[in-house]
Symmetry: D2
Subunit: 345 residues, 4 copies
């Protein structure tokens, strides 16, 4: 791509990690029944149930767009609404996918600086209108960690789910980087999901080292009624399902799912520590997972661009750097050095 | 699965072929831009354009359900209808996916014994109703080869497309096993697509040795306007796209796309030749691609089942055997022997 | 339209009956709260509850297309299917409306000569497939009377609902001409609906003398959850609702709903009786409601056309004549005379 | 409703005006062909073409929800977006109807104090994102007059349409109270629609004295391709269409469409003039059509409520009063008096 051995624009830029690859290779032997009736898929679902310590219903989709949209569509009707943060990926980066899969559900957006939803915001949006001229609030979706890299604490999730229960809302978690939140909190996956009142989790594999694929976990099996049909109709049932599911076995059995996330998180912290003394550079958000959002002068960013670093930019001169399972600490060091140079230059 | 080293219930049961695997492995080095902006995806699209000898617009979807449904949805509106054969996969095995992606388009079904559509059937269905109480016919979809393994000749496709042009209809080809048709006809892919009047082709990779993925080729680029948005919204844009597209490069460069299909077709012929002398066993359809449909007495099928052969059955005692890139001729021989034994027993 | 004072091509050709008109006139005095919060709407719903002798949930839609499609959409999901007769209006004359409102539900069509569904056909269609590649059957819809004018007996409906209960299906009744069935059977509306196991009825007002409007009755209120939102979102909530609902009060209080239907039915019988002795003219279906379907030689129909009679024709030389609340028996006589003449001529 | 002879909470509370009523009565004589093939419908469409002085394509829908949503759906695809003001009815009061009819189009909302969209806002929203992860802007919708009673000038509309042309956007006008804008501007309907660059107008009849019904005018007939099918499928084709269309003839021929609007506008001005000297009462918006938005102390509003006046309230203590074709100036005087009393009390 560029002169640098690595780039940190997105954790989607990373490839397939060795554990996921090995699992695909093992699965690629001989015949297997199609459409998820194979033993790899059964084993992957069982592994997820073991990890979460509960008999949840597990499905697999090709990507996060579909996983989140299918899950949300199953939790509401077209005339219902979904409450989310203004930073939510479903609102900002899915090209209307939730609206499409649900045939018209409206997203009710709560302004948010850090990307988090609060019980107050949920309460306000859910109760602001109660007439039939406005879609009835039915679901709350939170991203863990948020698109700005912030991690909800267990207490925060419990407070949100309590509000949801009170208002008759279901709670969905977009866990595109769920493993990174577990790594940050050093908690059991159950602690921030079903034990905290989450109804459905979309657990991301892609950003954590897999080629593709997200798992959808329904902690209340009643909510998953006929969900397999929904996936099929929406083009999310893989014929050679084993290649979508076997990597989950490899990731979970080896512990790579957590190791990868810890590594990516550590790289973010590494960058932060190496530049935190620079007065010209501020953090837009605390570093809580695998991203660093810098607030830096535009000319400084131009210097970085001239050095062929790629990154997403935001309003007000911010720059996002994201780290993945394969990030080389030397590359982080290289970036830190260039930032220091850009400042001094 | 069973005692047999191989099963022939479906060509979806096969794994990833060496050429596709090697291409994925090559692509799995270092970082690559996400969402199809990578060089593998560019190269895969270029390779397809080269293969078809035309500057078509190329997209990639995760599976055939989505590829066909997205293509059909782009060719009509919800109040239009799609003409297909009664055997068409979009009618019989997609759980309403075309209706879902198009938000309500109706499939108009032509009865068909061999799975093929005829110009007469198209004409009859397209002109049967012309009032606004019935969805206006807008698209014709044919499967090449059909779900019953029959291959449309170049002349047949040209006759269909002439009828489509006459009636203002667009012509879509479901090519889940497109390579097998090319192998049978020994023709250039262009000959049975754009040169014969096909507007959009869904070219299947999965059944021909890839892990997942179908290519959608718009031979008229105007019909593909904003199609990338449609894919994204419908959950069919892969973030790590290179793993969906690099295998196409491997398949096309190596010639495996055709070699695999030829091998599968040959296995079907092998089975046929080894049992054609049995008076108790009839073919339901001529063997023209990688499937053999047998019309055999139920007790004979029971014997095969007892020997742990898996196969799909049909009305009237038929049994389908499908062959893939990895079919071992010894396995075919084994099956043929068991069929002979079942007959004599 | 033509030289005849009346035409019998459709009962939609009739205007507004005096009782409906008077009710609209009464409602058109002063202000009334919008969107169905007015007293007329409340009273209309109450009148329907009284007529059916049960505390059902009542909604109003502008036409039958919407009423039936909204009801069906509320009874299933997009990946479910709806079982209907091949003659069903939802299949043949709604331009894909059920598919649109449900975002893709498939209609499973049972061949039928007389337009009726049978328990056997329901059983066969509902159990024919049980894999996720085909939409799961969830609803049965019957038209009472059928599009061919046949009336289901109470016993027939009970048999169908028993099959539905056994198979976990819901039973919907398209009652575009429901009053005519009540008139034929001389039964209480409850007898052929909730007491016979019907879950939801769409009770047609338009064909029975109103300007527009159908009532949707949910006999199980749980099935109607949030249905008001569904109506609103789908463009079926009238702002000046009183003009859609007041006519129901007029029709029910005056008994016109039944009187009109009886009159139309009687006109059909009148025609039948006046031509039944003609050997050249056969009935395609028994006369059981307000339609007469004649099987007559094409040259005879041409004579009628030359005399400027309008009628729908069907395969095999049939002709449909439909009678309405305003049919003048003299006009029926005129038609009968012309038919006799056409035969003798 | 209350002790007052009239209420001003909404112009939907008014009944049917004499001219519309008389036209319905005239249409209610004898038979007429159904589904819009009648002469009344033809005449209504012709009258609208004459009024606008152009050969536009004209359709009729039951209400504004459907008219606007169908029009918008015809102007874009599900993966496109529609730019509107934050006050737009399609955003705030249609229960997700535009999203439903379009199968997922997203509304991009421009903050607005007076309810108007500006070229700058359109430009900003249309160009803010250009990647496939966000729905491509395709349509702009403006409400004339706005939901806050503000009227776009001819110049403002021309400026908006110029921006639309520049950006490849289509321009839709929600004219639920279109007549009121014409009355305010004293202009030809053409001046603020097709001559100013509007592509599609939804011309409201209900709020201006009809029982129900909106006309949809496509000034570019190419954009209306197959729109009749769309209406039918979406449940918006009336069988006895004449009762939906004849009132348009009565309204246009008599001039009531404009007379009614002028009257309602005048009533708003009357109220304004009678209370404009009160320092305690401010206007939230200038009075430009048939609404008065008052910013008044909550205790004053309580006094009005105690006197059984009904009105919508808004954030910050505002109250909306709307006037209709049937508003009695004495009632307005009564309200003005009560407001004065409430202030002095």
């Amino acid at each position: 791509m560029t002169q640098h051995s690595q780039q940190f624009a997105s954790d989607n830029y990373a490839g397939i990690c060795p554990e996921a690859w090995a699992a695909m290779e093992r699965a690629n032997s001989g015949s297997a029944i199609a459409y998820g009736e194979d033993r790899w898929t059964q084993l992957a679902a069982d592994s997820l149930r073991t990890l979460f310590g509960t008999d949840c219903d597990v499905y697999f989709a090709f990507n996060g767009t579909a996983a989140n949209s299918l899950a949300l569509a199953s939790l509401c009707h077209s005339y219902h609404s979904v409450i989310c943060s203004s930073a939510a990926h479903v609102e900002t980066d899915e090209c209307g996918s939730p609206e499409f899969f649900s045939n018209g559900s409206k997203l009710l957006v709560a302004p948010s600086n850090d990307g988090k939803l609060t019980p107050e915001a949920v309460h306000r949006l859910a109760t602001g209108r109660s007439d039939i001229h406005f879609p009835k609030a039915r679901v709350v979706t939170i991203t863990q960690p948020t698109e700005t890299g912030q991690v909800y604490t267990i207490a925060e999730i419990k407070a949100l789910s309590a509000t949801c229960r009170e208002l008759g809302l279901r709670l969905h978690m977009d866990g595109a980087r769920f493993a990174h939140a577990c790594a940050t909190l050093d908690c059991n996956p159950a602690d921030i999901t079903w034990k905290a009142g989450v109804d459905v989790l979309c657990f991301g594999g892609t950003k954590n080292g897999m080629a593709a694929g997200e798992a959808i976990l329904f902690f209340d099996r009643a909510m998953a009624e006929d969900f397999a049909y929904r996936c099929k109709q929406a083009g999310q049932l893989a014929s050679k399902m084993r290649f979508l599911t076997a990597p989950w076995i490899g990731m979970l059995e080896s512990g790579a799912w957590l190791k990868n996330a810890r590594h990516a998180n550590a790289c973010a912290l590494q960058l932060y520590r190496q530049i935190q003394d620079l007065p010209e550079v501020d953090l837009l958000f605390p570093v809580q997972s695998n991203a660093v959002f810098l607030n830096a002068p535009e000319q400084m960013l131009d210097v970085l661009r001239a050095k062929e670093w790629r990154f997403y930019t935001f309003i007000g001169g911010g720059a996002r750097f994201m780290f993945a399972w394969d990030t080389d600490p030397a590359g982080v060091q290289e970036l830190a050095n260039d930032i220091r140079q850009a400042v001094s230059g």
